[in-house]
């Protein structure tokens, strides 16, 4: 490509390096702060490995705070949301992709329209409902809201993927005597694996990374999910920078790894889901 004659190779690498530094730098800050010993948390040093680097923050985080409890809560909530999301989106998406029925189009545009709701639109009435049903401060309450938030996007994205799978195979399965359910379950479901992975990832991330809804629904520190817990370190009178940084790092590593591994899938799923419809 002749762009290279315009921007020389050197400047290309220079710009890439600059942006890579910008993206990586905040992460290095988290690492640095998490390794600082207690007396140096308020330090103006920019060194990557702090003076007297120690793992004390990690020890304190794991053994002296509710971190493990929050981790368990987050894991449980995310897992339930993921399972529900995958079960519902994979079936509903299939119906919307393969069948024409009255109300199909309005259902599809209805799902799309929910993406324009501000967070408070459903949260406020649901909050009032949860109070009335006495489900405030329960995992059931938060799981229901998360599933509702993630589901429209997941259904769209599953439908988009099913649209790309040729119908011929299902017709063949039918001729071989498979019931519609068997056809779906044995033929189409396995073929949709990449889209299922994205739906699972998206549902999991929604629940794992969510702060503002959890902040309204969960009130006891025992019930906190990780985002609420980590924010707690920041909002106490003297910010617990060390604990916050250690916790952030532990929470981020697995998610970032999974995300990076699946990022190829993710984008094909996104474009299929939103572009091809």
């Amino acid at each position: 490509m002749s762009l290279s004659s315009f921007f020389s190779k050197f400047s290309t690498y220079f710009v890439l390096l600059f942006f890579a530094l910008v993206t990586v730098y905040p992460v290095t800050r988290i690492i640095t702060i998490s390794l600082r010993p207690g007396d140096q948390l308020l330090s103006t040093s920019l060194a990557f490995i702090p003076e007297g680097a120690t793992l004390d923050n990690y020890k304190e985080l794991i053994f002296e705070t509710a971190f493990l409890q929050w981790l368990g809560n987050s894991f449980f909530v995310s897992l339930v949301v993921t399972l529900t999301g995958v079960a519902l989106a994979s079936t509903a998406g299939y119906a919307l992709s393969r069948y024409t029925f009255r109300g199909r189009n309005s259902m599809l545009s209805g799902l799309l329209i929910t993406q324009m709701f501000p967070a408070t639109m459903l949260l406020l009435p649901l909050y009032v409902m949860l109070i009335q049903l006495q489900l405030l401060n329960t995992f059931l309450g938060i799981v229901v809201i998360y599933t509702a938030t993630a589901l429209p996007f997941c259904v769209w994205q599953m439908k988009g993927y099913y649209d790309t799978i040729p119908v011929a195979m299902e017709e063949a399965a039918k001729i071989d005597g498979c019931s519609p359910w068997q056809t779906f379950y044995k033929v189409v479901f396995p073929l949709a694996a990449p889209a299922l992975v994205i739906t699972a990832l998206f549902s999991f991330m929604t629940a794992w990374n969510e702060y503002v809804i959890a902040n309204v629904v969960l009130q006891d520190t025992d019930m906190f999910t990780l985002p609420l817990g980590l924010k707690l370190f920041q909002s106490s009178l003297t910010t617990e920078w060390g604990l916050y940084a250690a916790g952030s790092l532990l929470v981020s590593i697995p998610v970032v790894l999974i995300f990076l591994l699946l990022s190829r899938f993710l984008i094909s799923g996104l474009t299929l889901g939103s572009v091809k419809g």
Binding site: M1, T23, Y99, M121, P125, V251, V255, S263
Partner: protein, 296 residues
Amino acid sequence: MKSSTKDRLFLAMLLGPTIVLVLAVVAYPFFENVRISLSNMNIYHISDWEVIGFQQYIAVLSEPQFWEILIKTLVWTAVNIIFHVSIGVFLAVLLNQKFVAGKSAWRVLLILPWALPQYITALTWRGMFNYEYGAINLITAKYLNLPAVEWLTSPLEAFMAVILTNVWLGFPFMMVVALGALQSIPGELYEAADVDGASSWSQFWNITAPLLKPAMIPAITLSIVWTFNNINVVWLVSNGGEPNDQTHILVSFVYEAAFSMYRFGWAAALSMIIFVILFTFTQLFLNRTKATESVY
């Protein structure tokens, strides 16, 4: 497919659970929100509220702060999208050049902001904007000899801090979308353009840009809606609108009205107004850009 009774039953089985759930936790709350927005529900009338008509809407629209924050929200959305798209496309074009070595490594480094949990990013940037100990002031003082900036305590700077954080967060998404689209542009087009002596600049505007458009328009539309409604970054970086409730976009403003001040009716009305703004915008934008067919 012909729909026999058996097919219908199967269809009901596939769709039933989702329809029930969506009716219960999306449709019902939506209409409930409409009802609350027409009511006097607040901390004093939490169970004995009644429908009073459009007063809450009038109250929202006649509050000067609403218009101020609406303008801030529009600026916030526009600035973010402009930076997301231009940085994203720029990096994608750079990365897509044949000679670049280690493409997947660069890609991984550059999408890191997208992979990190958003709330961690927001809280970490809040730390980096700290006046005395934050990395930003330390770096600008040490390497550029600039005076320290009160990022989180003066309104304009706090708003800039929030935008900076979100620009950092958002460009990888656009970069990845653009990278995907770039790969489907046939190389012969550029070879032909080279033969005709077209400059890189004109190749970008005449070949790359128009061919990127079909992939970018839906991504931009989605991204405008997400940014307009991105409460996470604004709320967490500004710690709930600090200083002095000056750092808000509409959605964080509603969140505060609802859950810190319990002005339920008022907040529900403002939610509806935000929704109507976004709905109108997407319809107009998609019609203008003729991308409707590809979205539906």
